[in-house]
């Protein structure tokens, strides 16, 4: 192996490792984001008030 080819291989290896590292960190950040702020479907206001009202009625003797 010539020194130039060795250097090329080294750059290619470091390059690919760097890309995978970057993407792996990105992956972990997205997972963290999902854990910290999980998606919650917003209930429509009317439906919520109806449900609350029903619950209150049920609670009353």
């Amino acid at each position: 192996m010539t020194p130039i080819f060795e250097k090329t291989l080294l750059i290619a290896t470091i390059g690919m490792a760097g890309i995978f590292l970057f993407m792996a960190v990105f992956y972990l950040l997205i997972r963290a984001l999902d854990k910290l702020m999980p998606f919650q479907e917003k209930k429509p206001a009317e439906k919520w008030s109806e449900e609350t009202a029903t619950e209150k009625e049920e609670e009353e003797p």
């Binding site: 390059g15 690919m16 993407m23």
Partner: protein
């Protein structure tokens, strides 16, 4: 008699300035190439938004003229109108502006919903480094090899940005090669997708991605910018603008700016970029053995990138439980030809299972490929610039 002699001299001078007098076989070959680009764009609809400006640019750049007369009409003549417009390519102004527009039109939801797809976008970058090694073995200098390798990212603006820094003399060949192969993605990728996958793998159905909240969509570009800035600062001009454009889109309060970035701005820059890149293929500077080699390595880099993406999914599937397996047909989308590569995943998938819609899944690795190729460009610039 004197008047007649003078008239003859004038006509002779006029003739020496015409295209017919200065035409060489190279000009005619390049004009033919330009016409083929225009034909492919109109007739086959291969990337018409790029191939029409590039094709017409090739025609304009190859109109023969008396280069010694300093007419200031050629793209390489300092001070000419085309030369001024070309500075956006040479100095690397256009690619970040294109990335701003791409960011403003890209929805990263597919990636956020299934983040492991981001790794496919990393694997496909083997195309860049594979081509880099091949170019070096074919006798190109390290900086030239880096510029040629970036063709494998299947990303025109990234290829132009990197080449303008590493090997400006190869700009025309690299840009034309990158855009040509991007347009030919529907022709290049399918045979390798069929070759490297089994019928059983092609019908794998993936789970519908989860819904992504607005907060996640807003935080994603901010996180992306900070990660880029700290890990690969040399990729900042491209990735910084990509994430900026995406924040304009997702913030919900800058709709006008987002619409300008993904509409009039990206259109204007695409016209200027495509036209000037086309015009830079002047036969006298473009038609060389080097350019042919660049085209050959460019084709190989696309093949390597496609195969790397497909094989990576197959390897990943060995580690995943049955219900989470990934359809390897989305592996080709790891290259950043958005959204063409993802559309190919969809169309090949539909051939084997008419109810299996892979487009939304393929968009994940596809947008990851845009990020991955820009990171690769940053790494190459970090080593070779």
């Amino acid at each position: 008699m004197n008047t007649l002699i003078s008239l003859t001299d004038n006509l002779r001078t006029f003739w020496s300035y015409t295209g017919f007098y200065n035409a060489e076989p190279g000009h005619l070959i390049m004009i033919l190439v330009g016409l083929v680009f225009i034909y492919l764009a109109i007739s086959k609809e291969y990337e018409p938004l790029l191939l029409i400006p590039i094709g017409f640019g090739i025609l304009v750049g190859n109109i023969p003229f008396n280069e010694a007369a300093n007419l200031q009409v050629g793209i390489y003549e300092e001070g000419s109108v085309f030369n001024i417009l070309y500075q956006g390519v040479v100095r690397g102004w256009y690619p970040p502006l294109i990335f701003l527009g791409i960011g403003a039109m890209t929805d990263f939801s597919a990636l956020i919903a299934n983040p492991k797809l981001i790794l496919i976008g990393a694997a496909a970058q083997f195309g860049i480094f594979g081509a880099y090694i091949i170019a070096l073995q074919m006798g190109f200098a390290p900086n030239e090899s880096g510029a040629i390798g970036i063709i494998g990212g299947a990303d025109g603006p990234t290829a132009i940005f990197t080449t303008s820094k590493l090997a400006p003399h190869l700009l025309g060949a690299v840009a034309i090669s990158a855009y040509s192969y991007m347009a030919l993605v529907p022709v290049i990728q399918p045979p390798f997708m069929r070759l490297l996958t089994t019928k059983k793998e092609r019908v794998i159905r993936m789970k519908t991605p989860r819904v992504v909240s607005q907060t996640e969509k807003i935080l994603f570009p901010v996180m992306g910018l900070l990660l880029t800035a700290f890990l690969v600062p040399s990729g900042l001009p491209l990735l910084g603008m990509l994430f900026f454009g995406n924040l304009l889109k997702e913030s919900g309060v800058t709709r006008r700016l987002a619409e300008t970035a993904r509409g009039p701005l990206i259109d204007t820059v695409t016209i200027l970029l495509g036209f000037t890149v086309g015009a830079s293929t002047q036969a006298t500077t473009f038609l060389r053995v080097e350019s042919v080699k660049v085209f050959a390595i460019g084709a190989l880099s696309f093949v390597i990138a496609t195969c790397a993406g497909l094989l990576f999914v197959k390897i990943l599937n060995l580690l995943l439980p049955k219900e989470k397996k990934i359809n390897p047909l989305i592996g080709n989308a790891g290259v950043s030809a958005v959204p063409d590569a993802a559309r190919i995943s969809q169309s090949i998938g539909l051939e084997y299972d008419p109810a299996n819609y892979l487009l939304m899944h393929a968009m994940g690795p596809n947008v990851a490929g845009v990020i991955g190729s820009a990171v690769a460009a940053g790494i190459l610039l970090g080593f070779l610039y």
